[in-house]
Symmetry: C2
């Protein structure tokens, strides 16, 4: 982030016709995006492009969710047909929707609108071994980087993360535990609304996986250092999902192009921990779209130092919370472009 | 609110391709708007129209703010020139902006874009007598009703409240105390950011006004009953502002036409207490756009039973927080129009 552009943005906010600081958290967003662009005002973060990364999870076999695994593929079809909530919210905010298969288990029908980056037909069960090989994790990361690059090339000026993968809140909880050092019972939530018995099993499954892979304490290595990068990749491969890997790459790809990326909920939060482990600077491109009621999401955001913009108990994923934040991010930046100063408008400042 | 339409909206939400309840507070908004319209799905709440009601306050003489009173008129000019944050946010969400003079003290230049409903050149000082006569309060209420009717007639399908009036957080605090029975020190905030000394004076001024007018306890009369209406009108006239009266009328006008009205911050919250005192049913049309950091706003929302959609420490007024909520309200309703059901999309429900 450019300190000069950030200072100019703060100064400019203080000259606008409003009490100082009156736009609260939105002033911080505008300053951050000025820093990312190295310019004040930064470019308007529009149009936005949502990428929904879909994949399946071997840990589904452990009974962590009441939803059948086929729903991942069925929801991919629903996204492509325009029938999901993510499509509806994208239409509301003028965002495009790109659906990416990074690892759906069920065979998908050919569809020219589906981006196929399938690395494997789902991950392996993290309670029996690593979820991914190092090569698979790396391939999914690179797929995410490629998708970000392509969307920016086609004109997107803001990216939004989306995900679909039955059982992916379990993998998210494991990633968040491994990066923050918090225990599974603090971080593992009810996802789409599981019952007490399934919730207890989910916690036990996450604990077992962390123990198996030696991930019960927070990493000591400095994020971004060679040891930090190695630990982040090993953690991702051990307990992550293919969509987590792809979203981490998507964040890195956005940051490399200095385009803001709005993080959706707990899956994106887990993936952002991976991205920050690989390259802490990438966090500068991240805006936390919303706060999910999943306890792990709060833990991830606190660890990343990000403040969510929308907090409405959304627990759907797909990018829905990130999309709803897009008009807020635009509004924050637009203020720096359009609002008059005390001088220009002839308005008296306070005594 | 129509119970039948609300039940149909809830049922429909449960059939959509998402886990039940996964859209959190937005599902409640969609159900409420179905009840308001008496139809499911309810009409999309767009386009939106913001009305900014501007007025001055006699209590300014008590030194409750560092801003000169002339700023009210200067900001009216800024709204008309398109240079304020409210204009910027309105452009972001596609809302029209109507500026209404209900009681600005400083003479305003002629401008065909300014709606003149001036009832008086500001209120009187509420620490020395009633801020308004009963006739003035009633005239300002009627002005608000007229503006709502006119905006709906011109095609608005969602109204947003806005305000401008130096010292109006002081009048808001007094209104909120009088309707909720809470003490001035709990409700009176720092408005645009006053220092400790001014804040202490503001609390003392509010307490003094409440004592003078016999408003130190919550009303016993049932809202909407003849005695409740009388008490609401008397409270409004004693300690309210002309823009509070107009916004209360605006809410009543929206409710009468079954058009949703998004409340902005603490001024709108105080005005909504007046509207609810006059006609409790009017609350069915209200959506709380955001939560301001003013302590009185939280008290007003709790009393009204409304949950704010945006919570970003905005403390600007003008309608800015209400405008930012508009895309969220649209998204909530749009889901009922566009999202596929489990059956129609061929997606399996959970086991």
């Amino acid at each position: 982030l450019s300190p000069g552009a950030m200072a100019r943005a703060r100064d400019h906010q203080d000259r606008l016709t409003k009490p100082r600081g009156a736009l609260g958290a939105l002033e911080d967003v505008s300053v951050r995006l000025a820093g990312l662009a190295g310019d004040c005002p930064p470019p308007l973060p529009a149009p936005a492009a949502l990428a929904i990364f879909a994949a399946d999870h071997g840990v589904h076999a452990q009974g962590v969710t009441p939803w059948p695994q086929e729903v991942t593929a069925q929801m991919v079809a629903n996204f492509l047909a325009g029938g999901a909530v993510a499509n509806c919210f994208a239409a509301q905010v003028g965002a495009s929707v790109t659906v990416v298969d990074v690892g759906v288990k069920t065979p998908l029908p050919e569809d020219p609108a589906l981006v196929s980056e399938k690395v494997a037909p789902g991950t392996a069960d993290m309670t029996r071994g690593p979820a991914m090989t190092p090569e698979q994790a790396r391939a999914a990361l690179e797929a995410g980087i490629r998708v970000a690059a392509e969307l920016v090339r086609r004109g997107a000026r803001c990216l939004v993360t989306g995900d679909m993968g039955i059982a992916n809140t379990t993998a998210s909880a494991a990633l968040i535990c491994a990066f923050t050092g918090r225990p599974a019972e603090e971080v593992t939530g009810r996802g789409t609304g599981v019952d007490d018995e399934t919730h207890a099993r989910k916690i036990e499954v996450v604990s077992r996986a962390l123990a198996l892979h030696g991930l019960t304490t927070a990493p000591r290595a400095v994020p971004g250092s060679p040891a930090g990068v190695e630990r982040a990749l090993a953690t991702l491969a051990a307990v992550g999902g293919l969509e987590h890997a792809a979203i981490a790459g998507f964040v890195l790809g956005a940051a490399a192009r200095r385009v803001p990326v709005i993080l959706d909920g707990v899956i994106a939060g887990a993936a952002a921990l991976v991205a920050a482990g690989l390259s802490p600077d990438a966090l500068g491109a991240c805006v936390a779209g919303h706060r999910s009621p999943e306890p792990g999401h709060g833990a991830a955001l606190a660890h990343l130092g990000l403040r969510p913009l929308v907090d409405l108990e959304l627990r759907l994923g797909e990018g829905t919370g990130g999309l709803l934040a897009h008009p807020l991010v635009c509004a924050a930046v637009r203020v720096l472009h359009e609002v008059a100063t005390f001088d220009s408008a002839g308005v008296a400042d306070k005594n």
